[in-house]
């Protein structure tokens, strides 16, 4: 883990040693499965698909899922539609802010292969190159049932330990980082921040 080149990434988001709970690991695994908090970050056209889940008909709260505005507390990150580079920058920053056992759920076909916007200049064709995806739900905006199924899938993967998107992000950070820098150019965080300074 430590031979990786130091990219001067954001506050050692990668370089901390992981906390291994020996005794309570199975309990925590169960708890992680039974209480998933979703980051309120709805991109693209899928954002409107998410509220029905909270209504009386589907009610994802019975699985312990609760929308939570702050990324620090959240575990589940829903990418609900096409991803433009501008949104991808925010996604990367929010993803890196989330605390570690975090999972990514990609809705719809756009994050998988660009979907309807397959030939558009401004859509990220394959999200997986920049952010590790745990479960992808096909469909050009999957219906709530499909999303619920995807959530069940995530919970199963957590149960079995396969939902290791955050581990993959840590291990081959160079790959993800190179792709990101290729897309946005080196040191894109400062440049982006400076652009908005004038308006604040």
């Amino acid at each position: 883990m430590d031979e990786r080149k130091d990219f001067g990434e954001n506050d050692g988001v990668i370089h901390y040693e992981l906390q291994e709970f020996k005794l309570f690991e199975p309990l925590f695994k169960w708890a992680r499965k039974k209480s998933l908090w979703i980051v309120a970050f709805c991109t693209g056209c899928g954002g409107i698909e998410m509220p029905p889940l909270a209504t009386a008909r589907y009610d994802f709260e019975r699985f312990g899922i609760m929308p939570n505005p702050a990324p620090r507390m959240a575990d589940l990150f829903l990418i609900t539609g096409y991803v433009t580079p501008k949104t991808l920058k925010r996604i990367i920053i929010t993803y890196e802010m989330m605390q570690d056992p975090k999972y990514l759920l990609a809705h719809g076909s756009c994050p998988i292969n660009g979907g309807v916007y397959w030939d558009s200049y401004n859509v990220v064709k394959q999200l997986d190159k920049y952010i590790p995806i745990d479960v992808a739900i096909a469909g050009c905006m999957p219906r709530p049932e499909a999303v619920m199924d995807g959530i069940m899938e995530i919970m199963r993967k957590i149960e079995t330990g396969e939902a290791d998107g955050w581990k993959r992000y840590r291990e081959n950070y160079e790959y993800y980082r190179r792709n990101q820098d290729k897309l946005f150019g080196e040191g894109w965080r400062e440049k982006e921040a400076k652009r908005w300074l004038a308006w604040i």
């Binding site: 925590f28 992680r32 039974k34 209480s35 309120a40 709260e61 702050a70 507390m73 605390q99």
Partner: protein, 297 residues
Amino acid sequence: MFDWRLILDAIGILIYALIVGFIFMGIERKAMARIQRRIGPPIYQPIIDTLKLLGKKESVSHGFVYNFGPVFALGVSITALLFIPIANFQLFSSNADLIVVAYLLEVPMLGIMLGAMSSGNPYSALGVQRGLLTMVAMQLPYGLAIIALVQHWGTFKLSQLVALQQLQGWSITVPALALAFIVFDIVFQALLGLEPFDIITAPAEISMGPMVEYGGKHAALLFTQHAVQLFAETAFFAVLFFGGASNLLDLFLKQLLVLFIAIFVASIYPRFTIDQAAKFFWKWPTIIGIIAVLLTV
């Protein structure tokens, strides 16, 4: 010096309070869901959430005071809890009285504010500002309710208060104290941060207010603190107005009664903005409080 029975009592009550506190939070979410005709999470959902937060593999901090804030808040909540006469356990309530407990129930707010302020996030700063203004707004009616109570019973000692209420009937039955009950109930809503006055952690507006930068074990600490605080405040409410309790089940029922009043109010009313809340607190609850106080003098 140590009387072991007291310490065992304290530990027992602490664990009981923690579990029942989480259950109350669960009931809160379950009841709101049921009102919205949803199934809602299992009752023990808050316990799962806290465990998940505690089990986070990574933890982030903005400096010593950021860590000290939640620890201080939980510590003071536990202290406040141990000074309230829970059912037939006296615990430490013999050497502290109503004013000390009322103050201890408000001090955790300082702990949360300390942590939130040092996180250096504008949202948390807004949360701090709203939290303090709510506290300033509700302090006058809160004080008036307590004064009415004390003037009627003539004592500050909680254990004595409970004994008097056992003899002469609950505070609710006294007309003046009924007014004080109404005022205290409105203030109780703000103390818990439930719907009409949940301006502090307004989820949609300022993303969890002070708690925006809290994650992992800090959030777990805050959740446990909220659980203990919930138990302590419902117990305090029960002791003041429903004549304490002879045994734990009696206390539990009274706490449920109080909780459900709060839940029903919370699930109906939209959120006040902060200056509306201040103006509201200084109008109706204060007037009712003054009437209650003048009736009991």
